[in-house]
Point group: C2
Chain length 163, copies 2
């Protein structure tokens, strides 16, 4: 299979990979950037170790709470790569199939490279089917992940300045 | 959630964890025990590293080939623990949802402990739903995994004697 089932955004961040890593893995930092405002995060739990929980609940204005089963951390290689998936829960147990055929599980692969005195951030969403890629694009992947990458950069740069 | 969605078998094997580990991860050994005879394995590919492929095709007499999407290795901690899942493919990409609601994805968690001069083998299948647990039991989990654990023991013990 050579078909590309991924969506990717990149961003240069003026902070060290170590600082960005903390923003990816520490709940009190993650909560500040991971949802595109005005979406809010109401619950967050992250255990950055393979098999650990990755749990986020978002509250979308005029829609309500987006709550799925908890996800699972797959790789946590500080400060270069964090991978988690919604298809599995804590301890690598599979999550239940969706009842709505438009829903999909994705895996997020986030890579950090030291570059130009800062950090080059690459976030890739991996999907199972071309339909899921299209659905994710229509949900506003580029806007949403672009906005959150900007929020991540702002947070990491602020944090870098005042450790 | 406290519900148990796992099925487990255990077996004491008179071989070292290192030898059993090789049987779990080397294709030319895996092919000899992983399917309960007279089921045959016609294709096997394993890359024992997180994100690596776990691919097995079986041929069942009077039924034919059982071919699903390739699975993904999640943990490969020689010689103590190997975890792979059918819910993800190589590189941690989610696998497509099943079209048949009776089908299910599982994760296999295999643990090896040095004990009594040999290896205590624990194989656990993790499921997403109680329905999947029941379906797996009805497919003959205990017979099937019991038979393959016996085949694994026989292979590892033979291999141990003639390194």
């Amino acid at each position: 299979m050579t078909e590309d089932l991924t969506l990717t955004i990149t961003r240069q961040i003026n902070a060290s990979p170590q600082t960005v890593w903390r923003c990816l893995t520490e709940p009190e930092l993650l909560v500040q950037w991971f949802a595109p405002k005005p979406v809010e995060i109401t619950e967050v739990e992250v255990d950055p170790t393979p098999g650990g929980i990755f749990h986020i609940v978002m509250k979308v204005p005029e829609y309500g709470e987006m709550r799925g089963p908890s996800g699972c951390v797959l790789l946590a290689e500080s400060p270069t790569r964090m991978v988690w998936t919604a298809a599995l829960g804590p301890g690598f147990a599979p999550n239940p199939p969706h009842t709505n055929p438009d829903d999909f599980y994705m895996t997020a692969d986030m890579r950090l490279e030291a570059r130009d005195g800062g950090c080059f951030y690459t976030a890739t969403a991996l999907h199972a089917t071309p339909q899921a890629v299209v659905a994710h694009e229509k949900m506003g992947f580029y806007d949403g992940w672009g906005t959150t990458a900007g929020q991540l950069a702002e947070l990491a740069e602020h944090y870098q300045d005042s450790p």
